[in-house]
Homo-oligomer: 268 residues x 2
């Protein structure tokens, strides 16, 4: 396995095809175990693409309800040799993770949101009256998919992005769909843009399937729109409906389905 | 949202397509929060497709290294109204989950395998000398994809299966790729087939991406082959190589790539 750069590895594989076999060079996406230390204590290890690590860690802590804004983090230091990140929190922040009832995938570790991932009472519903043109949905998803050269090279990543109007402000790739969304949330926190630009017109784009946990993350980021080329689950539809988020799935090519709050999508 | 059965919900969505819009009935896959009580204590909540729940829970406990065989479970009781599962373990089994260093996705909760998901020393390498015909790989993946009527209906699930020779013994769907594999492991445990049929010639099929955590689960189930239509990560390739598992990715239509231990795939 040759390491080409930090994000892909080149290797020789045997490609079997229509009854023949040949050696072939392929790229695979890099996966690392990233240790997160909070106030000196190792808290989690994240299996992730080792890129945009400060955003990943910030977004993870935000998703887990440990922090709510950038000021809650005093210092964040990445050590590439150890693949570890040291985070020091502001004094009044309690880095409590809920260890008793553990979530299996990423959710609010304190047990508030995750435990009630299908119970929307923890979040305020979105009140934005923003609308979007159907063509914008189509264009944004195309832009997101063009952005990910890693996906084209390896087929092994999910992408996520934040968009306002018809512009992608930030995008991220990761081997996991939760991580990719966390990176986007982390960027919003770190750049203090969470309330300014996203509260009313923010669109969260993701290439991953839409489960209730992804809707929870969208709600945590106060997004009005959540858009994906993949399918939603019943839990995602229910939660998005309760939280008044416009949920768009199967956004592929020239079409998409609107599952909830379709009044925000302008009729053609 | 009309509940059609336990596994899908019917709902009316707005389908935007090529500049027009129409109401359309769509199925979405059911997602439930399943509470797992171990010896009376709530331990985790799994967001999952509410099917094959005993297998899911058994496989989860096995993946987390809480149990190693069916006898370790004295009783398992599912309460559909509460969506809860009560598991009573044999007296000598300590239901210790590692709460200190938490894994974000499913891994060995005791911290042994997950923490060293990229460190293979916890597992014995596979020593099987079984071989497989290229056509078998192609046929099995086709069979797996035909089996999943849920995927055809909803586009929102991953499938996993165990196969021996050219036969699928058991398959499972879930909204998460980890859960689907756990259901397969759970079935193996519950039917006491783990060592008999899979140790030497077992194939773990999955439709999900191949990250190191999925290889860890394959190793936990002593599978010789791990096959998917999706891409592997660098961590998966490294771990499969260390554990002498034959890792096959991009198994689509008439082709596939063999990333590790290709000597087990017969040349055409």
């Amino acid at each position: 396995m040759t390491i080409t750069n930090d994000f892909t590895h080149n290797l020789i594989v045997k490609r079997f095809e229509h009854g023949s076999v040949a050696d072939r060079e392929e790229k695979v996406v890099a996966e690392r175990s990233i240790s997160l230390f909070v106030n000196g204590n190792e808290t989690v290890r994240l299996m992730a693409l080792p890129d945009q690590i400060e955003e990943l860690v910030t977004g993870f802590l935000f998703s887990e309800c440990v922090i709510s804004k950038n000021e809650n983090i005093v210092q964040i230091q990445f050590n590439p040799a150890a693949m570890s990140v040291e985070v020091r929190l502001a004094e009044h922040i309690q880095p409590v993770f809920n260890d008793k009832i553990r979530s299996v995938t990423t959710g609010c570790g304190r047990g508030l949101t995750f435990i009630s991932a299908l119970n929307s009472s923890f979040f305020r519903p979105v009140t934005a009256e923003t609308t979007i043109n159907p063509q914008t949905v189509i264009d944004l998803m195309r832009k997101l998919q063009r952005k990910s050269s890693l996906f084209h090279d390896t087929g092994g990543v999910h992408s996520a992005a934040v968009a306002v109007a018809d512009e992608i402000l930030y995008s991220a790739d990761d081997i996991g769909r939760h991580n990719a969304v966390d990176k986007v949330l982390g960027w919003l926190i770190r750049s203090d843009r969470l309330t300014q630009e996203t509260e009313n017109s923010g669109m969260l784009l993701t290439t991953g399937r839409l489960s209730s946990e992804i809707v929870t993350k969208a709600a945590r980021g106060r997004f009005t729109f959540l858009i994906s080329p993949s399918a939603p689950t019943s839990g995602a539809v229910q939660l998005a409906n309760d939280l008044a988020i416009t949920l768009i799935g199967f956004a592929r090519g020239e079409r998409f389905n609107v599952y909830t709050r379709s009044e925000r999508v302008l009729l053609p």
